[in-house]
Amino acid sequence: MAEHISSKKTYIIIWITLLCFTVITAAVSRIDLGQFSGAVALIIATIKAMLVVLFFMHVKYISEKMTLVVIIAGFFWLMILLVLSMTDYASRAWT
């Protein structure tokens, strides 16, 4: 069986890291970062999401490479949706 089995310690460390980042994102939201508030919040959320995806969902240890292609394709699709749509709106010079 080629499946990777993570240790309980690994999961506990990731769990505590996720909780810490939650505290950080909540605390940082109380600071006025002006135009960067949204970006900082999303960056922290992405770090948390990456931890869940890589460690809890075992993507770091996936044996079948085609599955990785599926995952990356999904992420790529989402980027096309968000980036192309938002730049469309952002480039409308309506007065």
């Binding site: 309980k8 506990i12 939650t22 809890f56 995952i71």
Partner: protein, 227 residues
């Protein structure tokens, strides 16, 4: 023809192996990939609503600040912590199924369900509060504050996104319940436990959606003094 029959008898057939796979390992990998294909359809499902949220946020930012401040910060933060804890117990449950620890598997799955129910309870209390304050879009919507119409749009997205998310949590709880029952009956072995892994993938995905919903809905510009 007779040769093949003899081969099958000699080889034996691992329990749970379907004929179109050559071995359990290949079956497991295919099953995991299939689950990920489903999850990317879920990304599409939620992605559309996230896009709508982002478009309107860029157009009505001040109303988004006002709407976010109408959210209950502590309920949102508590729910984020609850789901993160549930992801831990879910990951440990999958690990238990990998190792054949039947009792640990069932207990961890039940604890995951309890966290899920806790999440839904908090959402229920929140929704009830919003409902009483007329913060549900439609003819009964009323908001004391600036940008009322745009805040109604914020609430539309809040109810739709968290509503669908909560529905996904509920479906997850039910499925975990079934898996816990089958696990208790001893149907998962270290060689064949991919159902548990796939349910884990679903649950972690639901957690990931909330990881994004939390800052986008609850944490917009809380640096304003009157909150």
């Amino acid at each position: 023809m007779a040769e093949r029959e003899v081969e099958l008898v000699v080889e034996g057939h691992p329990p749970g192996l379907q004929h179109h796979f050559s071995d359990l390992e290949q079956q497991r990998e295919a099953s995991t990939m299939g689950m990920w294909v489903f999850l990317i359809t879920e990304v599409m499902f939620f992605g559309g609503m996230f896009l709508a949220y982002l478009v309107y946020r860029s157009m009505y930012y001040q109303a988004w600040v006002v709407g976010s401040e109408a959210m209950d910060f502590w309920f949102g933060t508590a729910n984020t912590a609850i789901l993160i804890c549930s992801s831990l117990t879910m990951a440990l449950a999958v690990r238990a199924s990998q190792l054949g620890h039947r009792r640990a598997l069932v207990i961890l799955l039940i604890v995951t369900m309890v966290f899920g129910i806790a999440f839904m309870t908090v959402k229920g209390v929140e929704y009830h509060g919003h409902w009483l304050k007329h913060e549900f879009p439609g003819p009964s919507f009323h908001f004391e504050g600036p940008y009322e119409q745009q805040v109604e749009m914020f609430f539309s997205l809040y109810w739709a996104m968290t509503g669908f998310h909560t529905l996904h949590v509920l479906i997850g709880i039910i499925i975990i319940g079934f898996v816990a029952y089958y696990g208790w009956r001893g149907e998962y072995t270290p060689a064949h436990h991919n159902t548990v892994e796939n349910v884990g993938l679903y649950w972690h995905f639901v957690d990931t959606v909330w990881i994004y919903l939390y800052p986008l809905l609850y944490l917009i510009s809380h640096s304003h003094p009157y909150k």
